[in-house]
């Protein structure tokens, strides 16, 4: 246990201070992604069912108003569905940039050592080189790990919003038809 903790700490120490920023972004990114999936799987179905039930029960007389109210509700739903995907994408863009920042700080370290020891001591430069490479790798790993899910969530969100708009307008049309039928009778 101690050895594993030590290995992690050593990894972070070798990567330099940028690693903590990358860790922070990774945690934020994955919290948001998990929150989104939780919403998709558990919260959204209930919300949508409630909305559908309300529209099936309600009787509207003006079609224009009903359409507008539906559009509002669908847009609210869409906002909830794809809300933080925007932020997820931002974090994915930030990760390689943070990696690049780590590379540059690592290079600064390497050149410091060069200025101090000259080129004769490649072993002394190793810490700077690991500071340059580890954040780049970590940044890319974090970005790539989130990339698929960000696209999937975006797709899922817009698809669900589209389906919701479709279903609600169907209900409206059915209710409208029913209304017109009762009016003609």
């Amino acid at each position: 246990m101690f050895e594993q903790a030590y290995a992690v700490r050593h990894f972070f120490a070798a990567g330099g201070p940028v690693m903590w920023a990358i860790l922070l972004v990774a945690i934020a990114l994955w919290t948001l992604i998990l929150e989104r999936y939780w919403y998709h799987w558990f919260v959204y179905p209930r919300e949508f069912a409630r909305l559908k039930a309300r529209w099936e029960d309600s009787s509207n007389d003006a079609l224009w108003q009903a359409r507008k109210i539906q559009a509002q509700e669908v847009s609210q739903l869409r906002r909830q569905l794809v809300g933080s995907v925007f932020l997820i994408r931002t974090f994915i863009t930030l990760c390689p940039l943070l990696g690049l920042l780590g590379t540059v700080t690592g290079m600064i370290q390497v050149f410091d050592v060069l200025g101090f020891h000259g080129t004769g001591n490649p072993r002394a430069m190793a810490s700077g080189v690991s500071m340059a490479t580890i954040p780049t790798m970590s940044g890319l790993v974090v970005a790539l790990s989130g990339l698929y899910f960000s696209i999937d969530l975006q797709r899922r969100g817009s698809a669900k919003a589209r389906v919701a708009a479709d279903v609600l307008s169907q209900i409206l049309v059915k209710a409208g038809k029913h209304e017109t039928q009762t009016a003609s009778q």
Binding site: I69, I108, L114, G115
Partner: protein, 433 residues
Amino acid sequence: MAATSLQEFLQEVQRQAGTERRISEAREREFAADLEAARAQLRAAQQELRREQQRQSTLSAAFDANEAALTKLETELREQQGGLGEVFGVVRQSAGDFHAQMIGSLAMAERPEALAFLAELSGARTLPGIEELERLWLVVLEDMVNAGVVTKFSGEVVGPDGHKQTGSILRVGAFNAVAAGTYLAHVEGRNQFLELPRQPQGRYLRFARDLESAVPGEVRPFALDPSRGAILSQLVQSPSLLERVRQGREIGLIILGLGVLGIGMFAARYTYLQLVARRVRAQLRSDRADAGNPLGRILALYQGNRALDPETLEVKLDEAVLREIPRLEWGLTTIKILAAVAPLLGLLGTVVGMIETFQSITLFGTGDPQLMAGGISQALVTTALGLTVAIPLLFLHNVASAKSRYLVNIMEEQGAGLLARHMEKLRNDPEHV
């Protein structure tokens, strides 16, 4: 009268001439006596000289005889010393070697008397005795043993401000010394401990504090500098954050200025958007249209044009929403541009730094890395600054634009919906208006 006085004058002169003659005769006699005394002195001195010359000749004869005897004795001694002469040479040499080695060794820091003994032994002209030989052996063994133990001893620590303080110093083998959770540098020769002005990261200092408070026999982790302080002294050399930023020169300052500008703009925009959002939320709850927020203005437009049919009203509404959007989105593009410009400026700094580096290579060749350091550090520092400015600005731009998009979304898509609800409510409750 005149004749008598002349006569008297003559007698007087004659008398006086007689007296003078007597005086000079007396002086001549005196001189003769003096001469005689001087001659006697000379004779005595010559006699003394002869005596001393005799003594010198006897003494030099004795010296020569002694010299011969000494040479004889020395040859005798050398013969009798045999192999031991070599041994004493080796003792002196190794005492000198150990002294040179231990003058910088932490292991002997608490035993200055051993160091003094080694210095004395290596410089001594006399033959070392049995006790001294044994002590040399013991001192060397002691150093070996001391290099492998962790001990506490009392010593003087000089702080970074030059203030001296006597306290307990913890020594880890021959490698590091810590006092009160700070790493110390050992001054060679003076046997003095300096507190390093720049200390390693906090968790390493915590190790040091832990070790100091540990009971004997307990195993604790400790960050050791196996180079006996060379790595720690390099730490002092590495520039601080401010010095680093200064290495970026003008371009670095421009990037930082842009960063401050961007963050300031974000703060101003975000506060404004937050204010608008709060008012819009209040508007969503209330029935009265308030002209102080965008949604209220749209609702007011509806209330002013209630007689129009829904389609015309919608067109008017869209127009009103379009009028509101620029006020909500103003400044966000600037933040985005700043976030994009910062890395480009960093790249510019890199190129300027590299130009400088190559100029110095053209002038001085690649022999001295120090001459190239200025350009290279500018190149790297500006890139790093560009990224450190761009990353938060990009994030903040996204935060602010999400906020503004949320508000625009309310105007665009929900404005009409709210209007519809409003109309419905009015129809169900006509006497309310």
